[in-house]
Symmetry: C2
Subunit: 152 residues, 2 copies
């Protein structure tokens, strides 16, 4: 089962398993968001704004794990379609605070419910202790990867 020193055993590689789980989560989310006409980034953006109104484009991009450029494209569409509003002019610096409109909030409600169901399904087989362990483990992985790499 185990390989030599050079090879990575995909069957037991935690990196591979992490990617596999993330891929399954993404597929499950896309499946429930598609009928609502939303992509994952689209949903993530609305959810972030619901919890922290006034986030800027760059802050939203970081929170949704995409580039500023990608989030900018999305925000322009969301603003055009009336889901969010942005200050016409920056209050400080160049950052334009963004907020949900009532329409955006309504749209988010259905999506949030669907996504929550997916998350519950994901956790179905895990005990309370395992969920707590998952929290610690995922947090540790993230920080280890960030601290060791180049600061972006």
């Amino acid at each position: 089962m185990s390989q030599g020193s050079d090879a990575i055993d995909l069957q037991t590689s935690l990196g591979y398993l992490l990617k596999e789980a993330s891929s399954a989560l993404r597929a499950a989310m896309e499946e429930v968001l598609r009928p609502l006409g939303m992509t994952i980034t689209h949903y993530s953006c609305l959810e972030l704004l619901a919890q922290r109104p006034g986030l800027s484009n760059s802050e939203l991009a970081r929170g949704a794990f995409v580039t500023r450029q990608s989030m900018s494209v999305l925000l322009q569409a969301l603003e055009r379609d009336g889901y969010v509003t942005r200050a016409a002019q920056p209050s400080v610096g160049k950052a334009l605070p963004t907020r949900l409109t009532p329409r955006g909030r309504r749209s988010l409600e259905k999506a949030s419910k669907a996504v929550r169901a997916v998350e519950l399904r994901m956790l179905a087989g895990l005990s309370e202790d395992e969920q707590a362990a998952a929290f610690r483990i995922l947090t540790s992985m993230t920080h280890s990867l960030r601290d060791g790499g180049a600061q972006d």
Copy 2:
């Protein structure tokens, strides 16, 4: 900080943390693979072929978590550049078994070493027990998401 029953608290959502960790892993892998002129899917394809020679396009796509179409585009480039070889005609069905060339194997060696370092860094803060728990947890999450959703 906590919301009503509808909202998802991103700070403690395991779904969000999973995406965050996966995003950090992806960024770290892209950082080390870019100097080698490889994307993650590119690397994944070679690694899969090293461990299971003769995989078809569709099997590689499933293993790398992309569509057949995406893997097909990649395989055509890899074959053109001499990293892999494909049977000219299918031995059974339409599946074309693919194998690494010596050049592909050499190319993979460097990449595999770099990716292994990233994975070790990711696990740096975790005990043996926690790594075992991570294995169980990620596997459970994947299967729960798949079993509950539509069979693709």
